[in-house]
Amino acid sequence: MASLDSKIPKGPVADKWTNHKSKINLVSPANKRLIDVIVVGTGLAGASASATLAELGYNVKTFCFQDSPRRAHSIAAQGGINAAKNYQGDGDSTYRLFYDTIKGGDYRSRESNVHRLAEVSTNIIDQCVAQGVPFARDYGGLLDNRSFGGVLVSRTFYAKGQTGQQLLLGAYSAMNRQIGRGKIKMFNRHEMMDLVLVDGKARGIITRNLVNGKIERHGAHAVVIASGGYGNVFFLSTNAMGSNVSAGWKIHKKGAHFANPCFTQIHPTCIPVSGDHQSKLTLMSESLRNDGRIWVPKKKEDVEAIRSGNLKAINIPEDDRDYYLERRYPAFGNLVPRDVASRAAKERCDAGFGVNKTGEAVYLDFASAINRYGKEQAHVKGLDEEDASLVKKLGQDVVRAKYGNLFQMYEKILDQNPYEMPMMIYPAVHYTMGGVWVDYNLMTSIPGCYAIGEANFSDHGANRLGASALMQGLADGYFVLPYTIGDYLSNDIRTGSIDTQLPEFEKAEASVKAQLEGFIGNKGKNSVDYYHRKLGKIMWDKCGMSRNEKGLKAAIKEIKQLREDFYKNVNVPGRINEFNEQLAKAGRVADFLELGELFAKDALERTESCGGHFREESQTPEGEALRDDKNFTFVSAWEYKGEPSKAKIHKEDLKYEEIEVKTRSYK
């Protein structure tokens, strides 16, 4: 496998994308009809890429494991999408978005990609509005914005707490238009089982029809992986139950490098774990930190009283509350980036100030926002600003209009009214910045195989800022990949359709079948979930918010043992040729069991702290993350060598030409 060539175009960073677009090879409209492209995944990246590729004239085959492309987990994104529109006139610009994203990523992302992302961000909003995405508007009829963590401007466009849903349905509608025209062939309830390489190029995939279990071959001139992130390696995360790493992991095993696997985002505001039965965690949007204040009691005795049920949060006087984010980070306060907020919560809980029975929760309090909004409303309506119950009611109405669906979700899960009592929150695994390594054209180290959206590693460095994932997914899908892929496909206009009878397809299919038969024939004693939960616990305890050498080494060993036990003792009921959820899950967990080990290996290798990756060995005296720019300003891209422990590291050095690398401070 060739070593890393990121193919970053020459020239000033602001001109790279424009110049690159005008210089790359194109495929003529007549020839596009002769070219097939496979897209795996229908989240924001996959759906938007499918739609644009089909519009351009390619024959697109799109796959998703859900029953409809609209179910992809992008749908669950709540808060918003960033764009450097500067509609609020608060000093935003492409450069500022670029800068914020690089800084937010703790200087571990590729400048050229991030600048391109910031450039196309404004197009996304224009595009989505043209498609009929109902963003929030103000009374003048223009688009409204809010603010997110780690930035000092309001550039986040939103649709209540359902921005991801609205954007995904927009992309889904664009896809539907092309499905109706016959340009996209949609395969629902199909899982990608393997990538097929012919002469070293990606030429197709093997899939399993999840309804009847049939193994199928699909040929194409290029394969695009848009299958999202791998947060479910932790078992408990805010990801959907079906979210998995398999597509990305299969291409990794076929030669695609896997970059920065240890860069995981732990989101600070999620509903805390309630018991062993829990199957997933629920996010409470970061947008809540616009109005919510995070605190724990100052006094240990108050903590004890709360845990034993003798004291209620609302009865603790102001002076006895520790608004620790406001205390530690006065400039950004409650809106520090996610990694910082999560670690701060963990620090307080580890110090014994956690406010629920498990000791792993902090308060997110809306009382002062409700009071502030209430007074504002009373003033506007000419009512009595001193009438406390009136002010409270008016304020609650404002909060309800802004975050109603989130508050309702909270109440349903915890059976507590967050309008009256502060919410309890705790960090949870949310997003993975790491992923398949790609070059500037979003191509992986396998020719003809691309990775977009959360599935790739490219834009968020070691920490992603809020409302940037939606931006990246749509940027990659609508505006980047469909153009850069032409550069590669221009060499394929004479190839003709891909023959799925080739021995390469046959071999890939045989190995997929062998794995499935292995699972079914195993007749072990433990369920698939048994292993997934165990893996999740190892990951959370030893590769979670805080990592150290000893823990990581133990994790590597334990995951390896768990994997061996899995193959020996897993029990998968049913048959291959039928609808079999357990079988599908077994394949996914098998891949997590390999990825988990590489994850720990990567975390062990990176002895610095940066972004979401916190190595206890590398911190300032105040407990802030301490980067080691001299030794670690690179992307670690791992090459598969038979098993995770043997993976070989390739380093892509990160060069900062536009932005001066500084210590990230939100004080």
């Binding site: 409809s68 987990h73 595009q127 989505c128 043209a130 349905l169 509608s173």
Partner: protein
């Protein structure tokens, strides 16, 4: 809590299904309904019984994949929630709970509680979009101001998650609430008005071809809809359809 569950079991689309009864113990009131189903499946597998197939994914009420008909109601007795957001505290120790798939001719059963809702996709493919290319070369997003009330109503309609509870609960298995939500979203926005005529005609045509029943305004869909999509949307679609057919 100890519960008795009566669950629809059907091996595949062609098999004849029937209700089976299972006992389950140690259910915590904090569990979600689907977590209770996970526990049941673990217990069934230990006994060598095929686990119950059911659709689910995000488990936070937004993907629209979960789809159970619980005690005679779509997504169970609670309001404004999907099955995954229904919690066991809504039930009592000793209860018997009936669990069936969403039933409609247009939603054939795949296995057990899993149904095929691709008819919904086909209705969307018939016209649930604005015909604008995704080149990004459109006008500035703020070029057309939109009345906040219209924008909010369009948003409310657009929050439909496509779960099919409206169809499942309607005594006629009609898909009007689902289809009208999309028609309304676009009819309320200037971007969608351009092709409103074709859209409503094509979507209704596809809806009818899929074999959904006719709407008789019982209003059950609105009550059971986890997102509270309003019947107003159905009236709007009727209106749009009438005007569109007069226009020809």
């Amino acid at each position: 809590m100890n519960l008795t569950l009566k669950v629809w079991r059907q091996a595949n689309a062609d098999a004849k299904g029937k209700m089976e009864t299972y006992k389950i113990g140690e259910v915590s009131p904090d569990m979600s309904f689907l977590e209770m189903m996970d526990v049941l499946n673990e217990q069934l597998m230990v006994k060598g019984i095929d686990p119950i197939a059911f659709d689910h994914d995000c488990r936070e009420g937004i993907c629209g994949m979960c789809s159970m008909f619980i005690n005679g109601e779509a997504h169970g007795p609670d309001r404004l929630v999907t099955t995954c957001q229904l919690h066991m505290r809504k039930f009592k120790n000793g209860d018997t709970i009936t669990i069936e798939p969403f039933r409609a001719k247009a939603f054939p059963v795949i296995k057990d509680l899993t149904v095929d809702r691709s008819s919904f996709d086909r209705v969307q493919q018939a016209g649930g979009f604005v015909s604008v290319n995704t080149s990004g070369n459109t006008q500035d997003a703020n070029a057309i101001p939109i009345d906040k009330h219209d924008a909010d109503k369009a948003f409310d309609a657009a929050t439909c998650i496509g779960c099919g509870a409206c169809v499942a609960t309607c005594k006629n298995a009609s898909a009007m609430l689902f289809v009208s939500a999309k028609v309304s979203q676009y009819a309320l926005l200037p971007q969608g008005k351009v092709e409103a005529t074709d859209r409503v005609m094509n979507m209704v045509k596809q809806m009818d071809e899929e074999g959904f029943g006719n709407c008789t305004n019982t209003g059950a869909c609105e009550v059971e809809c986890p997102k509270g999509i309003s019947l107003e949307n159905i009236a709007r679609m009727n209106r749009e359809y009438l005007f569109a057919s007069l226009k020809g």
